[in-house]
Amino acid sequence: MGKLDIFGGQYFFENQAGAFNGYGVLDLQLAKSYSASSGFYVSAKSVYTGFKQVNELSGGGTLFQQSLDNSIGAKWIRRYEGGFSLKPRVGVKSQLFRETKDEKWGEGLYDLTRYEAGLTLERKTRWGLSTPWIYQLSWDAYYTRYARFKSLASEYGGGELNPPDPGSRVLDTLTNQFSYDSEFDLPGFLKADLFFALSMVGYQDQKVINSEGRYLQSERSDSYQTLSLSLSKRYNDINALGQVRPVLGMSLGLANLISNQNHLDTDLAHLKFIRSFYDYSEARLSPSAQFTFIDTGLILRLNYEFALRSYSDRLAQESDGSYTPQKLSQYSNSFNVETVYPVYRSIDLKLQCNWAASRSNNRYERTYRYNYNSSMYFAGMEWRF
C-alpha cells in the first residue's frame, strides 16, 4: 500500500514571493504477516520539495532551496499473549539539498545520511473497564552524518602555534532517544495521547568552548525533553450543509533543551561570552478542528498553533548587534487550513495554506530573521493505493 502526493505551491516571506514550485511524496509500505504473532513491514519514502518549509524561511530569508529525501526502513513485529509486542527496526535516510545557485545535487553542504535503529516494547491493555490503553516504551538511536560539513578551522592551515580546535565534524550526532507513548480511546469518541521523550544528543566532534575562546577536550552534549498531551473528540453530526461531522482537538506541548555548549561572540563590536547558549524552554498550544461534509466528502481541517520559546541564558540583541540585558524569547502564531476533496475513489484534491508570524525581542537580524510574517499555499492531488 502507499500514496503519491503531487503539489505545486508558492511561499511568501515578508513582502517577497518565492517562485512557484513543486512538492511530491511517494510513500510505499509492504507488509507481510506470517501469523497473528509475527510479521514485518518495509517502508520506503521519497520526498521532493522545491521550496523551503515555512519554519526554515527564517534562516537565510528567501534562499532558494530544493531538497530530496529518500528513506527506507524495516520493522519486525513479534506479538505475545497478554497484549505485549516487541518491534525492532532499522532504517536509513538520505537528505540532499540544493540551496544556492552554485550547489549541485549530491554536493549540498547540509546533505546528510541518517542511520536509525530502534526497539519498541508495546503493551495493549485497558485503563479500567471502559478504556483501551496502548502504551509503548521505545529506544531509538540516530546516527546523523553530514558528509560534506566540516568546521573551517579543521581545514585551515594557518600555522598557528595553538590553532583553534572546535572539532571537525561539528554537526555529526549520535542520538539516543527514550520515549513513552500512551494512547487512550475514551468513551464518547474521545481520544487522548500522552507522549514523553528524553533525547540525549552526543556531538561526535564538537568541542566545548570556554570564556577565553579556548576549546576544551570535552564534546558538546545536549539533553532534550519533550512532553505532549493531545485530546480529540468527535461530535455528533451537525444537521446542516448536508450533514457535517466535527472533530475538535487540542494539543499541548512542553519541551526544554539543556546543553553543555557555550558561545563566544567574536564580533569585536560586541564581544560576549554566553554560557549555556543553547538552553531553552518551549511551550506549544494547538487547537484544531476538522469538519467532514458527509454529502460531498469534502474535509476541512483548521489548525492554529501558538509557540513560545525562552532561552535561559542567551541574550537578546539590538539591531546593531549590541547585547541587551534581556534573555532572548520568541513566540510565533501559525494558522493552517487544509481542504481535501475526493474526486474519484482514492484520489483526492488537496489545498493547503499556511500563515505564520514570528516575533522576538531580538532585533539583530543580519543573518537570521526572528521577526517576520510568512505564508504559503500549495495545491495538488493525493492518490492512495
Binding site: 506470517y34 513479534r78 473497564l129 483501551p132 573551517l152 466528502g297
Partner: protein, 523 residues
C-alpha cells in the same frame, strides 16, 4: 476476513457523495423478510431494499448481506434474526436478536451507528467486528479493527478495540479481554491498519530528530556562519578568538565557498605593551587611551596587523606604535598630551607572483622629534617606484605647538614632493562596479612599475543582494542587516584574488587605526 477489512479500509478512507439512506439486502439460501413485526414472513431470493421496521430471518446454511451507500456492510449469519430500527442521518439503529453478525462499518452512513442485542448496545466508530447472540440473549462480540462502544443493561460502558472481545450477559458485561493469538479471530501481526498506526507513532518519534537536524542548520545561520555572498554563492564563515600571548589577541576569520572548494582567511591581531584583560571587550578602552591622553597610559597598543589571504597570495597591513611621549599640542588647543612617538603603517603583498615572494607596496610613517625634524612631526609616504623599490613620494613636517601651521595649511614645510613624478607616483581611481548608488565601491591603484592593487568593498544582504549605497558614506558602512565582502586583487596575484566576508567592526578598527597615519595627528 482480510478481504472484508480491505474493503472496509477503502470506504473508511473517504465518504460517499450525495448518499441516499437506502440499504439493500442480498440473500443467500433461505432468507425471510417482513416489513414489520405484525406482518407475515415472506421468503426472498433477490435483492431487496430494506426500510425501517424490516426484519430478516435466516435459515440453516443461509446468510444475508446488507449493503449501505457509504460502503458499510453487514453479513448476517445462519439462524439469525435481525431488524432495522432507524436509518436517519442522525442515528442508524439495528437489532440482532439472535445469531451472528459480521459488520464492517465505514462510519459515514449516520452520525451515530448502533447495533443492539438483547443484552448490549454497540455504538460503532469506523469498525470491523463480529457479534453473536445466543438464545439466552447473551452477546459475544469481538472487534477485528477499530472501536466499538458497548453498553450493558446495568449501565456499564466499555470501549472495545481491535483484537479484543467482550461478553455481555443479561446480568451485565465482563471486562473486555484480548483475543488469544491462536484464535482464528486474532488479526494478523502486520495487517494494514496496524501498520499504518505503528508508522504514525514512529513518525512522531523520528520527527524529533528531524527537528533537531533543522535546528542545527538554523543555528549556523543564527551565528552568522552560513550566508550568501554578493554573487549568489554560499559562503561559510567562522571566527575564532585566539590569545597568542597575554598581551595580544588575534581574531581569525575564515571564509569558505564550498562549491568552489575555496578557502580565504585572515586575521586581525592587536599586540599591547603589557598584559590585557581576559575580557577582550575591555581592550577598546586601552586603544582609546593611546591618543591625546593627559596622563601616561598604563598600557598601549604596540602593533596592529590585518592579514588576508587566499592561501596562495596575501595582503598584510601592519601598524607599529612606539611608546607614547609627552607632546605640546597647544596648536590644537589641547596643551600637553601623550601620543605615540611614531606610527609606521605598511602594506605588504606576498605570493608566488610578487617579486622576491613578497614586498612592501607602500608605507606611511609619522614620527615625532626625529633628527630631520626635531620638535616636530615628520610624515613620510613611500610607494613602489618604476624600479620596484620603495621610494619616498611625499614628506612633510608639522609643529603641533604652532596653531598657524595646524589650522592653516596643516603642515610646517614640505621636504619631499614627487606627486606627478612618473618615475614614482602612483595613479589611484575609484569606481562603483555595480553602478551608481550601489554599495559596491572599488579603488584601484597603478604603481609606477606597472603593478596594480585593487580593493573592492560590497555591502550585501543575507540573500546576496547588493544594497544601495548609504547616503554620504564613503566607507560603505551603515547600520542594518548586511555583510561586508572585501575583494582584493593585484597584477602580482597572477589572476587570483582574495575574497573574504568580514564583520563591519574589523573594517572600522582598521580605519580608525590607519586614520592617525593618513596625515598628522587628528584628535
Amino acid at each position: 476476513m482480510k478481504r472484508f477489512i480491505a474493503v472496509l479500509m477503502v470506504f473508511a478512507a473517504a465518504p460517499c457523495f450525495a448518499m441516499k439512506q437506502d440499504i439493500v439486502m442480498i440473500p443467500e439460501g433461505f432468507v425471510d423478510v417482513r416489513p414489520g413485526q405484525a406482518a407475515p414472513w415472506t421468503s426472498v431470493d433477490g435483492n431487496l431494499k430494506l426500510a425501517v421496521g424490516a426484519e430478516i430471518r435466516t435459515g440453516a446454511d443461509s446468510k444475508a448481506g446488507v449493503l449501505f451507500p457509504d460502503g458499510s456492510r453487514f453479513l448476517i449469519g445462519n439462524n439469525s434474526l435481525f431488524s432495522v430500527e432507524d436509518t436517519s442521518k442522525q442515528r442508524a439503529g439495528f437489532r440482532l436478536k439472535l445469531g451472528k453478525l459480521r459488520a464492517a462499518v465505514a462510519g459515514y452512513f449516520a452520525s451515530r451507528f448502533e447495533v443492539r442485542t438483547p443484552s448490549a448496545v454497540c455504538a460503532v466508530r469506523g469498525t470491523a467486528f463480529d457479534i453473536e447472540v445466543g438464545a439466552d440473549g447473551n452477546t459475544e462480540m469481538s472487534v477485528a479493527e477499530g472501536l466499538v462502544e458497548v453498553n450493558d443493561p446495568k449501565g456499564n460502558l466499555a470501549v472495545v478495540s481491535s483484537d479484543e472481545r467482550i461478553h455481555v450477559g443479561m446480568d451485565g458485561m465482563s471486562a473486555p479481554e484480548g483475543i488469544p493469538l491462536g484464535d482464528e479471530r486474532a488479526g494478523q501481526a502486520a495487517r494494514p491498519m496496524a501498520v499504518l498506526q505503528d508508522s504514525a507513532r514512529e513518525r512522531t518519534r523520528t520527527m524529533l530528530e528531524e527537528l533537531r537536524n533543522r535546528e542545527l542548520k538554523a543555528n549556523e545561520s543564527q551565528l552568522g556562519k552560513d550566508s550568501v555572498d554578493a554573487f549568489g554563492r554560499r559562503v561559510r564563515l567562522e571566527e575564532y578568538l585566539l590569545r597568542p600571548s597575554d598581551n595580544a589577541f588575534k581574531l581569525l576569520f575564515l571564509t569558505q565557498r564550498p562549491a568552489e572548494n575555496r578557502l580565504d582567511w585572515g586575521h586581525i591581531m592587536e599586540t599591547f605593551n603589557s598584559k590585557i584583560p581576559d575580557d577582550i571587550s575591555e581592550v577598546g578602552k586601552i586603544r582609546d587611551g593611546m591618543y591625546f591622553s593627559e596622563t601616561m597610559p598604563s598600557n598601549w597598543m604596540t602593533n596592529f596587523e590585518i592579514y588576508l589571504t587566499n592561501t596562495v597570495d596575501s595582503v598584510k597591513e601592519t601598524m607599529d606604535f612606539a611608546r607614547p611621549v609627552q607632546i605640546n599640542f597647544s596648536g590644537y588647543d589641547l596643551g600637553t598630551r601623550y601620543f605615540p612617538g611614531s606610527i609606521d603603517y605598511k602594506q605588504t603583498l606576498s605570493g608566488p607572483g610578487v617579486p622576491g615572494g613578497g614586498r612592501v607596496q607602500f608605507q606611511q610613517t609619522q614620527e615625532w622629534n626625529t633628527a630631520t625634524a626635531p620638535g616636530e612631526f615628520l610624515w613620510t609616504l613611500k610607494v613602489v617606484d618604476q624600479g620596484g623599490a620603495l621610494n619616498t613620494l611625499e614628506q612633510l613636517t608639522l609643529d603641533p605647538a604652532n596653531s598657524v601651521d595646524v589650522k592653516g595649511d596643516g603642515y610646517s614645510s614640505v621636504l619631499v614632493y614627487r606627486v606627478g613624478d612618473t618615475y614614482i607616483d602612483a595613479n589611484t581611481t575609484s569606481s562603483r562596479p555595480s553602478g551608481p548608488g550601489m554599495a559596491d565601491y572599488m579603488e584601484s591603484t597603478v604603481y609606477a612599475d606597472g603593478s596594480t592593487f585593487s580593493s573592492r568593498k560590497l555591502l550585501a544582504s543575507n540573500e546576496g543582494n547588493i544594497l544601495g549605497s548609504p547616503a554620504g558614506s564613503g566607507t560603505l558602512l551603515k547600520d542594518g542587516d548586511y555583510n561586508v565582502e572585501m575583494i582584493m586583487g593585484s597584477s602580482l596575484f597572477e589572476g587570483r584574488n582574495i575574497d573574504v566576508i568580514l564583520a563591519p567592526e574589523i573594517i572600522l578598527q582598521k580605519s580608525e587605526a590607519a586614520s592617525q597615519t593618513n596625515g598628522f595627528p587628528a584628535p
